[in-house]
Amino acid sequence: MTGTATLETQSLNMSFGSVPIINDVTFTLRPGERRALIGPNGAGKTTFVNLLTGRLHPSSGSVLLNGHDITEVGEARRIRMGIGRTFQITSLFPKLTVRENVFLAVAECEGIASRLFRSAFHHGAQVARVDELVHRVGLGDVANTQAQFLPYGRQRLLEIAIALALRPKILLLDEPAAGIPTAESHVILDIIATLPKEIAVLLIDHDMDLVFRFAQQISVLVQGSILVEGAPRDIAADPRVREVYLGDSKHGLPAAA
């Protein structure tokens, strides 16, 4: 299997009950891309990620991976096909340690998770990968601490380590920096910088400073529809985008370049 993948949606629609949440979204994420998905609260960003990973099912439209329709493929299989993600609302194994959390993901990714007869921690190569990942996200000092006892910001980092453990070809990061002090949010970018170039990364965040430092391309989602897509410079200058964010000082866009 090659290391790259293109993820697309075609005319994707989804509603909760009778409330439309995602409207006719056609979207492409190419290998190696560093794309941000921004939009106001409730725009449907998380819902969109859930449609991409198969956690939610669209009412119409399709999701394609390398041109193959995967709309009917279940979530676990899509993950194994290389679509990794983090959760906006931290989702960990609270009573397991940091290493054990990461081990579960490494074990699934490397196909050893259904082995019955050899101690988990005698799988040297996998354990070495676990420790490498734990250190890469800066959790080496709490490697043997239960996830539930980590401060929230560090739980966010563990969330990322779990996603990286899956060797994703496509990485979907849903507000990874939320809960990490702004001054430290650069660690997210540092971690992304360690990834192979050909991995596609989609970053959702409200921190425009982070978004503009990260993104080569930006998609703006408003009320479930793609309002505009383009290079950061063009997005910052776009009057429609500025209107959406107008008066919202917290999420303020940088001055148009």
Binding site: F93, K95, S114
Partner: protein, 330 residues
């Protein structure tokens, strides 16, 4: 019901060779008991069989987070398989025990594949319903099972052709002790394997397991089938050591009791079964003989006390006491 708290997970470290040898000591002590306390073999082997049964349940309740009120269904399938085979001339204990494991595992596969898409209360009800179904089938199929009278005329040839089941229960004592040791060793290896860890992951956060690519239904079914095979073995041992199979072996009462025994000892700790089963059987012996009604009350009180005050069971209490002592000393 899926909220039976998990034990704190210790930092994994392979035990040293000496530690491993020391872990064998209790087994030799128990094996020596008939010398000191002759006459208690029949009681002891009952305890061994129930511990083995509770261990099989711990794999589900304590590790995979699958709480079942129908585990006796699988125990009973094993007991009846061994019993019915022996009545029809297949009397080798090992062969019938293996057959019992296979039948129980297949039963587990069929019910597990059907039930394990659900969880929580729904799953609990389904496990109960499945066991009721088996109970009623055994109750009606009197030609095969003896119905309410139980299966008579069960007997087995000597173990390995060497050790005949004797009146005083010596053979049965060692036979069930060895089986328990093998199963304990197997379960311990299993829970430390990647598979065992993935079960803990499913117990802790099944949605997250899906999102790391785990086929959780398949994983849960495998756990259920393994547990079923072990429960079936416990049933077969019961049939072989008592030379009788009662309808009770499939009953809701047994399903409930084994769950209480496990929770009493502490689930998800591997050793909970070893503590909870003797404690429960001791209490039962003390209270039930005098007044069965009192015993039901006692059972209720045990369960409420455990759930409200000591969710980790007796081992949980011991763990907290040790932690408190450590804090005092340091």
């Amino acid at each position: 019901m899926t909220t039976i708290p998990a034990p704190p997970v210790a930092v994994i470290a392979a035990p040293s060779g000496l530690a491993r040898l020391l872990q064998l000591v209790p087994w030799f002590v128990v094996a020596g008991l008939p010398l000191v306390l002759p006459g208690y073999e029949p009681l002891a082997m009952q305890v061994f069989v129930m511990i083995l049964f509770a261990l099989s349940l711990d794999l589900l309740v304590g590790y995979a987070g699958i709480v079942t009120l129908g585990h006796a269904g699988l125990f009973g399938m094993g007991a009846y398989t061994a019993g019915i085979l022996s009545v029809h001339g297949v009397t080798d204990p090992i062969v019938t025990a293996l057959a019992a494991m296979v039948v129980a595992a297949l039963t587990g596969l069929v019910f597990g594949a059907a039930m394990l898409r659900t969880k929580g209360l729904t799953l609990l009800m389904l496990t109960m319903a499945a066991a009721f179904l088996l109970y009623e089938i055994a109750n009606k199929a009197t030609g095969l099972t003896g119905g309410e009278d139980g299966l008579q005329g069960v007997s087995f040839t000597p173990v390995l052709g060497l050790f005949a089941f004797d009146f005083r229960g010596k053979t049965a004592f060692f036979y069930s002790l060895v089986a328990l040791f093998l199963v304990f060793t197997f379960v311990r290896i299993l829970i430390n394997s990647p598979f065992g860890w993935s079960l803990r992951g499913i117990r802790e956060n099944d949605a997250r397991m899906v999102a790391i690519g785990c086929p959780i239904l398949q994983r849960r079914v495998v756990a259920y089938v393994i547990s079923a095979a072990l429960a079936g073995l416990a049933g077969a041992l019961q049939a072989q050591t008592t030379q009788f199979v009662a309808l009770h072996s499939l009953s809701f009462e047994l399903s409930g009791n084994i769950l209480i025994m496990l929770i009493l000892g502490g689930s998800g700790r591997l050793y909970g079964a070893f503590v909870g089963v003797p404690a429960f059987m001791f209490a039962q012996d003390l209270l039930a003989k005098q007044d069965p009604a009192n015993w039901f009350l006692g059972q209720g009180i045990i369960l409420i006390a455990m759930v409200m005050l000591a969710p980790g069971g007796m081992l949980g209490i011991a763990e907290r006491a040790m932690a408190a002592i450590k804090r005092r000393l340091s």
